[in-house]
């Protein structure tokens, strides 16, 4: 699904990613953990193609394509979805308009017909129920005046609607209370499939109680310093990131 090799990236003149190697197979869930400033969000944004994140070395292969040559909108249509850490408020653009434009952009790209209004509304109602989002939110401006939890649920709604092969979740748990986290986790778990890979970027272990990953990687100072299975998260929770830092440098 995704193969990252020797990835280095610079943001505002500062090297943030210092050589990342990561293989994500189809159907797998990987969690990227690490202290603040380690480069977790940078990695997520580089995958989505954010401008001003300059890749200086390495490569990213996504389903046999060189991801770095694709514009952000093409990556999205090819099925790379980033659930934002800070979803953007867009006054004047209704949520339902964005959702319809997004799904039709993907369908058009795949050579499928655009959804008519009736089929779209039926689909969107079903997906909104999945993340327990009230209908009224569909007709409000994108994320405007939404609470932190509502914004994150809106991200998962978009993800559920678009059914992308590669889901990247950037600190989706930040700012969520326990109830909202359960709703978000339920939405994500319902998307688990042998054809879909999920990359979860998180600082804390708690989201991983609800979305259980197959692999965990620890990112510190722009490099993956340790990889393991889900038990690594528990170890981190007990001992903290400083332990792993020392452990890595000792090794």
């Amino acid at each position: 699904m995704l193969s990252i090799q020797g990835l280095k990236a610079v943001v505002q003149g500062k090297e943030i990613l210092k050589g990342i190697d990561l293989e994500v197979g189809a159907g797998e869930i990987h969690a990227i953990m690490g202290p603040n400033g380690a480069g977790k969000s940078t990695l997520a944004n580089v995958l989505a193609g954010r401008e001003n994140y300059e890749v200086t070395a390495g490569s990213i292969q996504y389903r046999g394509q060189d991801l770095l040559t694709l514009e952000p909108e093409i990556r999205a249509r090819e099925g790379v979805f980033l659930a934002f850490q800070y979803p953007v408020e867009i006054p004047g653009v209704t949520n339902v308009y964005l959702l319809k434009a997004a799904i039709n952009a993907v369908r058009k790209h795949r050579g499928e017909e655009e959804l008519d209004a009736v089929s779209f509304l039926k689909l969107i109602k079903e997906k909104a129920a999945l993340v327990e989002m009230k209908q009224e939110f569909l007709y409000r401006s994108v994320n405007e005046g939404f609470s932190g939890g509502e914004k994150k649920r809106n991200e998962i709604l978009q993800m559920a609607l678009l059914e992308p092969p590669l889901c990247i979740m950037d600190e989706t748990d930040s700012g969520l209370d326990i109830d909202a986290m359960k709703i978000v986790a339920h939405g994500v778990n319902s998307l688990r499939s042998p054809d879909r890979s999920i990359l979860i970027v998180t600082h804390y272990q708690r989201l991983l109680d609800y979305i259980v990953p197959d692999y965990i990687h620890v990112l510190a100072d722009g490099k993956i310093i340790r990889s393991g299975d889900k038990s690594l998260a528990l170890e981190l929770e007990q001992k903290g990131y400083s332990w792993i830092g020392k452990h890595a440098s000792a090794a």
Binding site: E71, E73, V88, A105, V142
Partner: protein, 448 residues
């Protein structure tokens, strides 16, 4: 008849004074002594004060050379003959009044049918030539507050217009659409209208300015609107003229107690457009809204000059102008709010927000508050910003291409003003025109 010898005339006025000499015999009201006197007085004033210049504070940011450097010809016969049908807005059911280069076209304008019999409508010619003497004195009574040369020029040389009176308590069932078509090369159109909305009555008026061709034209309009007690009017000024069209658009409003007036000005076309909108809240508990939206590119220049005079207690006003400026376009906003000593409990809000899409675009924005009462609530604010890069990336990351995302965000920026348009067909039409314009601009090779 000239009041001044030629060498004392203000620069640029000679051509128009000459035209007056040639054409005054066929202008509306030429058979009426009072009207002839009014025109002569105005002409003398125009000859004396001339066109405004950038030395006038009120015109400081709007160079008028593109207008004053040309000699426009007032049209009295043989105006542009375009088919009025092609300027129709889909699904807009309205009473239509057509003007061609400023001249009222009686044929497609069904004046008798207008307003379902609740409105008395007359062309200015018959109003002035044959109307009752007593009512004539009200004609032009409020035009001229903040007078400048263009107002005097219109007063001297208006070539068409209507006088409409909506009877007390009447509600007009559909909008009245005044369509001003410009077309002849270097044509000067100077329509002059008077609208009286009597006590407790209600109407919607859509003024539309369109071009039948690519020629340079000048439209210098003057409209006065009088609202009696409890009257309501929704007024729209929709400017979609061609890129070589020049326009000075004047609307003066006087509101009696508990009346409500709302103006929405949408400017998408024209080379140089100056809008003078002036409302006086003259009776207690009146309310006035002024909304404006503009989207400009190339070297378009649009100057919205508003004046809100609170002259009575307990009135409210709300003003919001939003503009999108691309390429080398330039916007100007002047929002004057005057609160007179008797206007206690005034609540006046004003904002001007601009989205700048190019480093060569410019906005000059100037709020001007003059407050002479002590128990008032007034606020004003101006913001200037660029395309939100975060929002752009967010949309692109959902599969929407850059061009569509940019046009969506641009549209979204002015959407709260367009959302104030209560006539659905008109709003949809403007959304479509704006959308097409934004996409067209993206294909423009000169985009910076």
């Amino acid at each position: 008849m000239q009041a001044l010898p030629d060498h004392l005339l203000a620069p640029g006025t000679g051509h128009y004074i000459e035209q007056f000499g040639q054409l005054n015999h066929c202008l509306p009201g030429n058979r009426d002594q009072w009207s002839r006197d009014q025109r002569k007085t105005s002409l003398a004033r125009f000859g004396k004060i001339g066109f405004p210049t950038q030395k006038d504070e009120d015109w400081r940011y709007t160079p008028l050379r593109p207008i004053t450097g040309k000699s426009f010809d007032l049209v009295t016969d043989d105006p542009v003959a375009a088919d009025a049908g092609k300027f129709g807005i889909p699904d807009l059911d309205s009473y239509r009044v057509i003007f061609r280069d400023g001249v009222l076209d009686p044929n497609p304008s069904d004046l008798d049918q207008l307003g379902g019999g609740h409105i008395e409508v007359q062309p200015v010619s018959s109003f002035l030539d044959d109307g009752p003497e007593a009512r004539k004195s009200g004609f032009g009574e409020i035009i001229g507050a903040e007078e400048h040369g263009f107002t005097a020029l219109n007063s001297a040389l208006f070539n068409g217009g209507v006088v409409m009176t909506l009877q007390a308590g009447a509600v007009v069932d559909k909008p009245i659409e005044l369509i001003f078509i410009s077309g002849r090369k270097l044509a000067m159109a100077q329509p002059r209208n008077r609208i009286v909305v009597e006590r407790g009555s209600k109407m919607q008026v859509v003024e539309r300015y369109v071009s039948a061709g690519p020629h340079p034209t000048l439209t210098n309009s003057a409209t006065e609107i009088v609202l009696d007690e409890g009257a309501e009017a929704d007024y729209y000024i929709i400017q979609t003229q061609a890129k070589a069209a020049y326009q000075v658009c004047g609307v003066w409003v006087r509101q009696a107690a508990a009346s409500r007036f709302s103006c929405r000005t949408v400017t998408l076309g024209g080379a140089l457009v100056r809008n003078n909108l002036c409302a006086e809240l003259g009776g207690a508990d009146a309310h006035c809204d002024m909304y404006g939206a503009y989207s400009l590119s190339g070297r378009q220049h649009v100057d919205n000059h508003t004046t809100m005079i609170h002259a009575a207690r307990n009135c409210t006003s709300n003003e919001l102008y939003k503009g999108v400026l691309d390429q080398r376009s330039r916007g100007v906003f002047r929002g004057r709010i005057k609160v007179e000593p008797d206007a206690q409990k005034t609540d006046a809000q004003q904002a001007n927000n601009t989205l700048i899409l190019s480093r060569d675009a410019e906005i000059d924005t100037k709020p001007q508050l003059e407050i002479y009462a002590d128990d008032v609530k007034c606020s004003h604010g101006a913001t200037i910003g660029q395309m939100d890069g975060q929002a752009l990336f967010y949309l692109r990351s959902r599969g929407i291409d850059r061009q569509e995302a940019e046009s969506l965000l641009t549209y979204a920026f002015v959407s709260d003003v367009l959302g104030q348009i209560e006539i659905d067909s008109l709003r949809r039409y403007l959304e479509k025109v704006l959308g097409e314009q934004l996409i067209h601009e993206d294909e423009h090779p000169g985009r910076e």
